[in-house]
């Protein structure tokens, strides 16, 4: 999809890793975790540090963001293929990163929307609401939901 993704390792039914190859090699970890809402899984994404800890705030600037995103989509497809009824929630660890996710979603929405239903959280007068993702809109979403089209 889009650009050739990295080859990933499935460590567990909910945990995946792959290596970003750019200025340096960085092991990326993706974990799907059940939330308090039935059927909604949170997507955690971060860099594996040499000390074994995960950093989901760092900007690695490895020059391969599109390829990384293609790999995340690939993993998302694998996970939702195994669990088609699950909804995946994701957002950036900073608002800047969430905006980056929105830009990427907007760019690849045409292909992405063939596989997933995309919605997002927006702040309205009535509070936090889930609305369909509109790639043409300038609305700022602060979290996204994706669900496989069955």
């Amino acid at each position: 999809m889009y650009l050739t993704p990295y080859v990933y390792n499935k460590m567990h039914t909910c945990k995946y890793t792959f290596t970003s190859i750019g200025k340096r090699d960085i092991v990326k970890v993706i974990e799907f975790t059940p939330t308090q809402t039935k059927g909604v899984y949170n997507l955690g994404f971060g860099d594996l540090q040499p000390n074994g800890e995960i950093d989901d705030v760092v900007s690695s600037n490895n020059g391969d963001i599109v390829k990384i995103f293609a790999t995340v989509i690939d993993i998302l497809q694998d996970f939702t293929e195994q669990n088609p009824s699950y909804t995946i929630l994701f957002f950036g660890s900073t608002s800047q990163r969430t905006r980056l996710y929105q830009r990427i979603l907007r760019t690849y929405y045409q292909a992405f929307s063939k596989i997933f239903i995309v919605t997002g959280f927006v702040e309205t007068e009535t509070g936090t609401n889930e609305v369909p993702f509109d790639p043409a809109s300038s609305t700022e979403y602060f979290a996204f939901f994706v669900k496989r089209i069955m």
């Binding site: 975790t33 308090q36 995960i54 989901d56 929630l89 957002f91 959280f121 936090t128 609401n129």
Partner: protein, 55 residues
Amino acid sequence: MGVTRKKTMRKRSPKKLAKQNTVFVYVERFPVEETLFPEKLKKANELLARAKMMD
């Protein structure tokens, strides 16, 4: 010889027993300590609560 009465056990329905003896304990669906992204999960649950999407 006197007549000995046979002691009988009253049958009790397992369904009724379960009703009497069931204690409901609230357990978090997924403890934050078990994830690699505890802060993210905490924030996700807060977001869902804000949007009233909690179970």
